[in-house]
Amino acid sequence: MRIPCPHCGPRDLREFTYKGAALMDRPTGDWSEAWDAYLHLRDNPAGRSEDLWYHGPCGTWVLVDRDTVNHAIHGARAAQ
């Protein structure tokens, strides 16, 4: 698997660290069910998914549009 870093172009999987599903809306405030969902519950899709990878060499968090069934990568952009 090669992941296209938005800054460095397609790079080997070894340069990336996987974070998990791209959950960009972090809850605020004290513990709530929203925190439980954010920390633990996952859609875990079989198919197209969006997940977060950290590109070590350039220090960018990358949002990768990926197919979990066949490892095809449809796109990637810098996470904001």
Partner: protein, 417 residues
């Protein structure tokens, strides 16, 4: 149809023409008391123990492919009860006892081989931890022996004992652990469940779960609707998809774990051995192939195959621990879909929907759990109460933070196990 030495001799002399299929291939009926979704090791064991322990035989196992075609046929066949934490210890101890009686119980040769598991350690700190784990195992009633470097050298002559970075200080020996023939476990439970009247329905994919007023009433399948009073979900890597049919989101991420086998070699490794300075485990199959694996690839995947960096990592660990392995050629590799929970421990629990039960989250340790999981899940479905050894495998432990079982001590967060 029972197996016996006499039967094998007779069939051998008569051209093996008397063997018959080991289970029926029934059409699904419209109505069952209990439907088990998933015809893998855990599902088939559940069906068997429902019939044997609870006398419930109006049961169907629905399998979308063929029996035992998932993770029970895609693992490294290791059986052990060397867990440390309360909750896990009792469960795997119970499971190992069931393994020990399995061949007699099922009248099926599952090639259970208690060749012993040795967890190597490579530092004083690791030795202390191994001693602690060994004590926890002994308190649980299982067997654990701390071996020093001389004893390891005698038992495992092919390892790199004096490796410059990771010299072997000793190992924790668990004699009752070992390996079993993975497919035979599925076949044995299938045959025994079928002979007690359970319908095993293959090529039958569940496409929906019917729920009325908070109570499950049946399932929709590619072979028609089936009504049921109780439904058990035990589908390993596909747990999230099936649970979603009931409107649930699970604390599970599905990851790929690779495993490898070399060409057949003469006997050189008598035990199951794990490397303490890398995630690596190896044993030798009865055919002679060295069967080994390592860590997850560490990204969500349903591909049932891994990537080269994962393979490279495993090979590096193999060469470090056992340099002679470089002479062997890898015959094939495969990947399984691991249903990973945040704390690395499984879930056997009510779903919150009446009559719907969950058995999932076995991470990369499902094979050794097959009999215990089936036994405890059958108990839960039949009696609506938790079986004592599996009572801590609760779904709500992540929500409440109570009863987390983080065996590796890395934190109860996704992607840390």
């Amino acid at each position: 149809m029972g197996f016996s030495a006499f039967r094998i001799l007779k069939e051998g002399l008569t051209g093996n023409t008397g063997w018959r299929p080991h289970w029926r291939d029934p059409e699904p009926r419209a109505d069952y008391d209990i439907v088990i979704i998933g015809g893998g090791g855990h599902g088939l064991a559940t069906a068997f123990y429902l019939a044997k322990e609870h006398g419930l035989t109006n049961v169907a196992v629905l399998e979308k492919g063929y029996l035992g075609g998932g993770n029970v046929g895609r693992n490294t066949t290791i059986v052990r009860a060397n867990y440390c934490l309360p909750g896990n210890s009792q469960f795997y101890s119970h499971s190992l006892k069931l393994w020990e009686g399995m061949e007699q119980e099922l009248n099926f040769n599952t090639m259970m081989s208690q060749r012993g598991v040795i967890n190597l350690f490579h530092s004083d700190g690791q030795r202390d931890h191994a001693a602690r784990r060994g004590n926890a195992m002994a308190i649980q009633g299982d067997d654990a022996i701390l071996l020093d470097r001389t004893q390891i050298r005698e038992r495992l002559p092919f390892l790199d004992h004096d490796n410059g970075r990771f010299p072997i200080y000793g190992g924790l020996y668990h004699p009752r652990g070992g390996t079993a023939r993975h497919d035979a476990v599925a076949w044995g439970y299938a045959r025994a469940a079928d002979s007690r009247g359970v319908d095993l329905i293959q090529n039958c994919e569940v496409t929906g779960i019917d729920i009325e007023n908070g109570r499950v009433t049946g399932v929709q399948t590619t072979r028609g609707a089936i009504r049921a009073r109780k439904v058990g979900i035990v589908v390993a890597g596909r747990s999230s998809q099936v649970a979603a049919m009931a409107g649930m989101r699970l604390p599970i991420e599905s990851h790929v774990l690779q495993a490898f086998v070399t060409e057949g070699l003469k006997p050189c490794l008598d035990h199951v051995v794990t490397f303490g300075m890398g995630h690596f485990y190896i044993s030798q199959s009865d055919k002679g192939g060295l069967v080994f694996g390592g860590d997850l690839d560490f990204y969500a995947s349903y591909a049932a195959r891994g990537n080269l960096p994962g393979a490279e990592h495993v090979m590096e660990a193999a060469c470090t621990l056992m340099p002679s392995i470089t002479k062997a050629r890898v015959l094939r590799s495969w990947g399984g879909i691991m249903d990973m929970t945040p704390d690395g421990s499984p879930i056997i629990d009510h779903s919150g929907i009446e009559g719907l039960y969950l058995n999932c989250g076995w991470c990369y340790g499902g094979f050794k759990a097959v009999p215990g999981s089936g036994f405890s899940f059958a108990h839960l479905i039949a009696t609506d109460s938790h079986h004592a050894p599996a009572a801590r495998f609760r779904l709500d432990r992540f929500t409440t933070g109570r009863g987390l079982m983080d065996e590796e001590g890395t934190g109860a967060q996704h992607n840390l196990h």
